[in-house]
């Protein structure tokens, strides 16, 4: 029958909760990189420079078509051959940030394309510069339709942080695995990991929906 030991559960819980901090940090940092870099990738694909546009589009396509775990391995293990030696954390953040930047750039692209052409024309008729047009007129309107996709990828990056355990980032999965190796008990640590992920993912998804509504109202688009 199921051999669940409560005393062991309480014993390992503090260690897992501490590792949860690392998981949240990894997800937060990776997401911050992805949010900013994704926008850069999306805007780069809208410049008149065909070379840049094509290069960025191919890169995004490449990243989206290969597994995240491969990209993590690549940055961490192949990087040193080119003289780029990175700590597990740095390599992991670059890999996961870049990976999700590629996905977010597609979300932004959809949002940017949803802004009606008339908005560009009005901005031009007021003689706004291209930069001002983007930051004052287009991006604020591209944001609300992008929020749902952005929220999905926030939960997505959070759930993908266990992949960082393969290069030794001491996040939740890595810690649970270590506990299992030391004690030969895997049931409690892995079950707890699942529960912790669930307890964070579900409210986050709900919070994102609330945030989306708030932003729409704030921008007068409710």
């Amino acid at each position: 029958m199921l051999d669940w030991r409560w005393d062991f559960t309480w014993e390992i819980l503090p260690r897992l909760l501490a590792a949860t901090g690392n998981t949240l940090l990894a997800a937060g940092l990776g997401y911050a990189i992805a949010v900013v870099l994704g926008l850069v990738l999306a805007l780069a694909q809208r410049t008149p420079l065909t070379v840049l546009t094509v290069a960025v589009r191919e890169m995004v396509e490449f990243i989206r078509s290969t597994p995240l775990v491969l990209q993590i391995f690549f940055v961490f293990y192949v990087g040193p051959q080119f003289g780029i030696r990175l700590s597990p954390w740095t390599a992991g953040m670059i890999a996961i940030g870049l990976h999700y930047a590629a996905y977010l750039s597609e979300v932004y692209r959809g949002g940017l394309e949803s802004v009606p052409k008339g908005q560009w024309e009005a901005a031009r008729s007021l003689n706004l510069s291209t930069g001002r047009t983007y930051f004052r007129v287009i991006l604020p309107q591209a944001l609300p339709p992008s929020l749902a996709g952005m929220g999905n990828y926030l939960v997505g990056i959070f759930k993908d942080t266990p992949m960082l355990s393969v290069i030794g980032v001491a996040e939740l999965m890595h810690t649970a695995n270590a506990i299992g190796s030391q004690t030969y008990r895997f049931l409690e640590p892995f079950t707890l990991v699942g529960i912790i992920f669930l307890l964070i993912s579900l409210p986050t998804a709900a919070a994102i929906r609330l945030f989306e509504g708030w932003v729409r109202r704030k921008l007068g688009m409710g």
């Binding site: 908005q119 024309e121 009005a122 031009r124 003689n127 004052r136 007068g220």
Partner: protein, 273 residues
């Protein structure tokens, strides 16, 4: 691609005698479809010119080219004596760069069929955007100017509303205030009443009427409101197939049209209304 030779076009027009807007042999085509065919059109300072014609006759394109929303394929457009679509380099006209376009474009304002207000800004913020971020006015100056203009179009009490809370007629009036806040010399009205419910058309046409009376603005308007055009225009241009088929004072054009196509169009419009 330039399909006409512009080497003999003047680098600038004589300041004192120059019309405010001058189209010289302006051609616009999309692929093999010629929308405007070597258009010559001068609009004097303070003149109100209305463009009428069947759909596809190129009338809206005239305004869009002047606002630099469309590039041209041949000829030159001059605004206030200076070339708009081109600029001088080494004694000859070359295609205008972004900087030149922004400089000349600042003399032109435009109102659109679908208003195109910025939905995330209030009426007041819509009006202040250009003055603050393009003209470099202080927030206080821009606010004063914008409030004055919103009052002029009768929208002072709605200044803190977002466009989604305003009716079409109200949005269009805000759009007029927004364009005027940039103090343009030329105003373009592109079918500004076409998207409006019949009962609110009057509130927009009244604002334009007032502008004609009080300001020395040069105006170009595309409209289907023939009665309105007749009332306020100095000159009516009837476009057909990318050319000016006939033009004259409202009395001449509506009262005694010379061309068969003009007569056909006017009687078709009359039947429809």
């Amino acid at each position: 691609m330039d399909i006409s030779d512009i080497s003999d076009f003047p680098l600038a027009l004589e300041r004192d005698t120059a019309p405010m807007v001058s189209f010289r042999k302006v051609t616009k085509s999309y692929g093999s479809l010629v929308v405007l065919d070597a258009l010559d059109l001068d609009v004097a300072e303070g003149e109100m010119v209305t463009i009428i014609g069947p759909s596809g006759s190129g009338k809206t394109t005239v305004l869009r080219m002047l606002m630099t929303l469309e590039t041209i394929n041949g000829g030159v457009i001059y605004v206030d004596g200076e070339p708009l679509t081109h600029m001088e380099r080494d004694g000859r006209l070359v295609r205008a760069n972004d900087r030149h376009l922004r400089k000349i474009r600042s003399k032109i304002g435009m109102c659109f069929q679908h208003f195109n207000l910025f939905p995330h800004m209030t009426a007041l913020e819509n009006c202040m955007e250009g003055p603050v971020h393009v003209l470099g006015l202080s927030k206080r100056q821009a606010r004063e100017r914008s409030e004055e203009l919103l009052a002029m179009v009768g929208m002072a009490d709605k200044r803190d509303q977002h466009p989604s809370r305003l009716s079409g007629g109200q949005q269009q009036r805000v759009a007029i205030a927004r364009a005027l806040a940039m103090r343009p010399k030329v105003m373009l009205f592109d079918e500004v009443t076409s998207a409006l419910d019949p009962e609110v058309i009057g509130e927009v046409t009244n604002v334009i009427r007032e502008l004609v009376g009080k300001h020395n603005l040069t105006m170009l308007m595309v409209t289907h409101q023939m009665g309105f055009a007749k009332d306020i225009s100095d000159r009516i241009c009837f476009f057909y197939g990318g050319r000016i088929e006939e033009q004259g004072t409202p009395e001449e054009l509506f009262g005694n049209p010379q061309k068969e196509r003009t007569r056909q169009f006017l009687s078709a419009v009359k039947e429809a209304t």
